[in-house]
């Protein structure tokens, strides 16, 4: 392994030496590293003074962890240019071909670039944070606890790895530095939003472990991005394309060919296209089925355990409202008289599309989370209703099963297609470009959606609006 990693360090070392010889990279990094902590410190002081003048009760110490998070993030956004131009820059300068013609393996090339990409942002971030800590200790402010500093350093590391791994993916796929730089906003803005979420955890998380969990989550996403990058790293792609063009005609025809196939009848389409997609989804279907069972059982057990303590603190009115809310989200919408066929159908369709959209931007992860929450609610709902005196078994047989057979099958299939989409994206595909992989996977998802999910949801909505209410009235 040491021998296999040697070329990685060789590449990284060369590039690091190169970067250290470039004042255009060093100068802004040094300035930002020391200027930004000063600016943050002075700005935080001003804000606190202003708030306190109008009756606020803030002390500067409370803002220190947040400032550390921001000071760590800011230099990464600037140093990201190193990662963004890693491959595409070499391509533009014509230095990539001798490297690609050498016996270096794809992953060695990729990791070499990744390490250099991470090194500079991290160096700048840690230098900035260190300088800031020195600064506030000289102001007689309290430093955050050591554990929290470690958490923030770990989180900064995770942010750097995440952003750089995304930037390297962009760099392998872009055909010019200009395009890569423009695409950088698709990295910086989501991570900035992520940091806002983490700030909420920082101020109001209330649990020491929550930042570790956030770090772990960010790192997992970074690992997936690295995997995607290596899976779709193609020497041919780096050399073969010279111009950035959005070929809508090609996109449309590839999607349509993949979606429609060669069959001339609807039955043939179902047999070949939908059947083929289903065969490819076999493992994903099995996985999401297991996930569904696990999440329902877990939520059932969990709610059964917490319900006595939780419900004893609530008034009858509050319990009623909660039951209404739970029934609405748990598939018992038919209890509500205002719910029509159209509402149910469109609501379920929307949920499936949202699952796809979230899945597309997170390699299937967020889509699956939404699915797990949706299915899990059923178990929790049955446990809750059982606690307030209903029979969970009767409710399930009469209130969920009749339409659930269709609705849950539809959601399970859509979810499996989203999971498959993510899995395909992180699987190497030397025959296809990343664009082709995405288009073909979307076509597969659409086949499942149009061919199975929509009809199943249609039938489910019919049953839920016209049959389930009658059945439920018998048991409630």
């Amino acid at each position: 392994m040491k021998e296999k990693l040697a070329p990685v360090w060789l590449l990284a070392g060369r590039e690091l030496r190169d970067q250290f010889r470039d004042w255009r990279i060093l100068f802004p990094l040094i300035v930002l590293t020391f200027f930004f902590p000063l600016l943050t410190n002075s700005f935080a002081g001003e804000v606190i003074g202003f708030m306190n003048r109008y009756g606020g009760d803030l002390i500067l110490d409370r803002l220190v962890p947040f400032s550390i998070l921001i000071i760590g993030f800011f230099p990464v956004t600037v140093a990201l240019v190193v990662a963004l131009e890693s491959f595409v820059g070499e391509k533009e300068r014509g230095t990539i071909e001798p490297l690609l013609s050498s016996p270096l393996l794809d992953w060695q090339l990729y990791l070499g670039k990744l390490f250099v990409g991470i090194f500079f942002p991290l160096l700048a971030s840690y230098a900035g944070i260190s300088f800031y800590l020195v600064l506030i200790s000289h102001q007689n402010l309290n430093l955050p606890p050591t554990m929290q500093i470690l958490q923030l350093l770990a989180l900064t590391f995770a942010h750097s790895v995440l952003m750089v791994s995304a930037a390297i993916v962009v760099s392998t796929q872009a055909t010019s530095i200009r395009a890569a730089n423009l695409l950088a906003s698709f990295i910086i803005i989501p991570v900035a939003l992520l940091i806002q979420g983490e700030s909420i955890l920082l101020f109001w998380g209330g649990n020491d472990q929550v930042l570790w969990m956030a770090t772990l989550g960010v790192l997992m996403l970074a690992v997936i991005l690295i995997r995607v990058g290596i899976a779709h790293f193609q020497r041919e792609y780096l050399l073969g394309r010279e111009v950035d063009t959005l070929n809508l005609k090609w996109l449309g025809s590839t999607f349509w060919q993949e979606f429609r196939g060669s069959g001339s009848t609807l039955w043939a389409w179902y047999q070949v296209q939908v059947g083929g997609a289903l065969r490819r989804l076999r493992t994903s279907i099995l996985l999401v089925f297991v996930l569904a069972i696990a999440s329902s059982v877990t939520s059932y057990v969990w709610v059964s355990e917490i319900a006595p303590t939780y419900l004893s603190k609530m008034s009858t009115e509050e319990i009623g409202t909660m039951v209404d809310e739970l029934t609405a989200s748990g598939g018992l919408t038919s209890l509500n008289e205002n719910v029509s066929f159209g509402y149910i159908f469109s609501h379920n369709l929307r949920a499936v599309v949202v699952m796809l959209i979230l899945g597309v931007f997170s390699f299937g992860i967020l889509g699956e989370l939404l699915y797990i929450v949706n299915i899990g609610v059923i178990g929790g709902l049955l446990a809750g209703l059982q606690y307030v005196g209903f029979s969970a078994f009767d409710l399930f047989i009469n209130g969920i099963l009749p339409h659930g057979v269709f609705e849950l099958s539809a959601i399970l299939l859509a979810s499996a297609a989203v999971l498959y989409f993510g899995a395909v994206l992180i699987t190497p595909s030397p025959e296809r470009t990343m664009g082709e992989v995405i288009v073909v996977s979307l076509a597969d998802w659409t086949k499942i959606f149009v061919g199975l999910v929509v009809p199943l949801l249609f039938i489910a909505a019919l049953i839920e609006s016209y049959i389930t209410p009658g059945l439920l009235l018998n048991v409630m």
Binding site: T95, E97, S101, E431
Partner: protein
């Protein structure tokens, strides 16, 4: 050593290389000639496994370029169209870096690097940043990089394009040396004099297809016809066409000489000389007319363009 069968590459609906068949033995030099965009670089890139053939296959030393790309890249030295130099490095750092990439030990790296820098006249500039080098120096350094690991196969894209005549000569000598050490070399070039001086075989590629592929003499015969000879007189003399033996075609006739074409010079030329002696013609010389690769190339290209592309 290098073998391709129906090697083809399509970019969407454009065939950059179309059914290319090559066979280059060890110790041979193949010159690949053609216009810009004819498919030379794409062919080279397929031979190094950088581009995956759409159709057909290519083997180097019996190894398939798609199945064993890493082994292929270890045994091939590629001089790319662009020099691909890291301008902030010094020449010795650069060669050392690529020596490491090709996994040479420290001793070997130093020896090869020193030899190549010395050979190409870059030793005195070895500690200077490459950014300060002239175009020709950069080209020489790129060639040194190609040779650092002493590869048995060399794929050279325009090896002397930016060089002064002295440096170009130096490079040509080195290429000739490499051939004598049984290396297999493919040169893509627009320099026909260079190709003529170095190549054992010449292939002309046009719109992705190989139009001709043979040694120079055979190409001249095929493309330009049988050899042409020229007789010069020391004074004006009239030599009638009817005096020429059967099978000899008179091409031109002037007061001080004439030229002719024959497919069997061993048989016809002694007869012509005998006839000239018999009539006491004041013969100064009888010599074969020199026909250049340039004539072959231009004829092949003119035919191809006239026919809309293909033979």
């Amino acid at each position: 050593m290098i073998e391709t069968k129906n090697l083809s590459k399509a970019f969407q609906d454009f065939w950059a290389v179309d059914d290319v068949n090559l066979d280059v033995e060890a110790g041979q030099i193949l010159a690949l000639l053609g216009q810009n965009g004819a498919g030379k670089t794409t062919t080279i890139r397929m031979l190094t496994g950088l581009l995956r053939p759409t159709r057909g296959w290519a083997k180097i030393d019996g190894r398939d370029v798609v199945a064993e790309p890493t082994a292929i890249r270890s045994s091939v030295g590629v001089l790319t169209e662009q020099h691909g130099l890291y301008l902030r490095m010094t020449a010795d750092e650069y060669l050392d870096f690529f020596g490491r990439v090709y996994q040479l030990d420290a001793d070997k790296r130093k020896k090869r690097s020193d030899y190549l820098l010395e050979y190409f006249g870059l030793a005195r500039a070895a500690k200077r940043r490459i950014g300060e080098y002239s175009k020709g120096m950069r080209q020489k350094l790129a060639l040194a990089r190609t040779l650092i690991h002493e590869p048995p196969v060399l794929l050279l894209d325009e090896p002397t394009s930016a060089m002064d005549p002295e440096s170009a000569r130096l490079v040509r000598d080195e290429i000739a040396n490499l051939r004598s050490s049984q290396r297999t070399i493919v040169i893509c070039t627009h320099n026909l004099v260079e190709a003529e001086a170095l190549a054992d075989r010449i292939a002309i590629i046009y719109q992705g297809k190989i139009l001709v592929n043979d040694n120079l003499d055979a190409l001249k015969r095929k493309v330009l016809g049988s050899p042409e000879y020229e007789v010069l007189f020391s004074e004006d003399w009239d030599f009638p066409e009817s005096s020429l033996p059967k099978g000899v075609e008179m091409l031109s006739q002037e007061a001080r000489g004439f030229s002719f074409r024959t497919s069997a010079p061993e048989e016809t030329n002694p007869l012509i000389l005998r006839e000239l002696g018999h009539v006491n013609a004041p013969v100064l010389t009888l010599q074969k007319k020199q026909r250049s690769l340039e004539q072959v190339y231009l004829k092949v290209m003119a035919d191809a363009q006239g026919q809309g592309g293909l033979q």
